[in-house]
Amino acid sequence: MRIPTAALFAKRQARTPQNEAEVPFQEILPLRLKNTVSGKADSGSDVACLQEMSVLFACLKENDFVEKMCHKEITQFKRCYKVYMDRKATAKETINKGIVTPGKELNYKQLNKYMRRFPNPE
């Protein structure tokens, strides 16, 4: 018969808590926030125009991949991607200019510039 493990160890005493003096706290990383943020999160996902793409695929499949029949869907898809790319380009341009405007939507470069002005006390 299989004995449950909990029953086997039930008689043993509970572990004694550690002595706090014997285990001093080590500050491995400094216990305060850095004055910088990394730019990794800002790269974001590149997924754009998924809706338009699925509409286009549906149309193409229905019409046996004849593009003439899906003129509207094709133009919409192309326009969507163009708008997306344009917006990306302008966003990049503003980042590279490095102008800091106070507000909620700051990218990492602007944030770093801002935080350099008000650093954490050492």
């Binding site: 996902s45 590149d46 997924v47 754009a48 125009c49 998924l50 793409m53 699925s54 286009l56 695929f57 193409l60 499949k61 991949f65 593009e67 094709i74 898809f77 192309k78 969507c80 991607y81 163009k82 790319m85």
Partner: protein, 216 residues
């Protein structure tokens, strides 16, 4: 100052020697339409006194100038031999025109154009893909993910496919001839290049479930 730097500190300071124009030089506006469009706006007066780069030697405002045609010739060029590419291109244009005129005279086609340049542009326009597939690795498996395509790249792919199809031929057939056939086929929405494009679209459609995988 620069001379001093070059003679006394040859390796320590990087000097941009190969750039022909300083950065403040602007690109020339060489086409008639672009010039007129610039004149409409205030931009034109600004450009009057700004140093401008020279026009490239294959760009002109001639009626025979077409940027896409120039691109085709550039993509055809092999090993820097543009002269040969231009000759082959002209020959294939002649071939397109001859076959087209022959077909028109035989009464096979109704109200068709015999302008080879128009046919070439039509062929390129017909073979442009709407999307492309990029390989993205997720969890050890490579997925072919459909991704939208920029206008420039779609033109590039269309021309590349046309030229690839033309180069894949028997040894006895000459390039201009084969290229002309491919152009004519593609201009009428048939042939291998159009099939290649449709195959790509089909594959993209069957891989549509992976479309949200892209991130790069």
């Amino acid at each position: 100052m620069n001379n001093f730097v070059r003679t006394f500190l040859p390796r320590l300071v990087a000097v941009r020697q190969m750039s022909a124009y300083p950065k403040h030089y602007v690109e020339p506006i060489f086409t008639r339409e672009a010039q007129l469009a610039a004149k409409e706006q205030d931009e034109y007066n600004k450009l009057l006194h700004v140093p401008t780069k020279a026009t490239k030697n294959d760009e002109s405002l001639s009626v025979f100038y077409n940027p896409i045609v120039q691109k085709v010739i550039n993509y055809m060029t092999y090993g820097g031999n543009k002269k040969l590419a231009r000759e082959l291109f002209d020959k294939s244009m002649e071939c397109v025109k001859r076959t087209q005129i022959e077909r028109i005279n035989l009464g096979k086609l109704e109200d068709a154009t015999a302008d080879p340049y128009a046919l070439l542009l039509q062929a390129i326009e017909n073979s442009r893909p709407l999307l492309q597939l990029t390989a993205i690795k997720r969890g050890g498996v490579t997925y072919q993910v459909p991704v939208p395509i920029t206008e420039k790249r779609s033109y590039f792919l269309a021309m590349k496919w046309l030229l690839e199809a033309a180069r894949e031929k028997e040894r006895k057939v000459h390039f201009p001839e084969k290229f002309a056939w491919e152009i004519l086929d593609a201009a009428y929405g048939q042939g291998r290049v159009i099939k290649k494009k449709n195959d790509l679209h089909r594959q993209a459609e069957s891989n549509r479930a992976y479309a949200h995988y892209r991130w790069s």
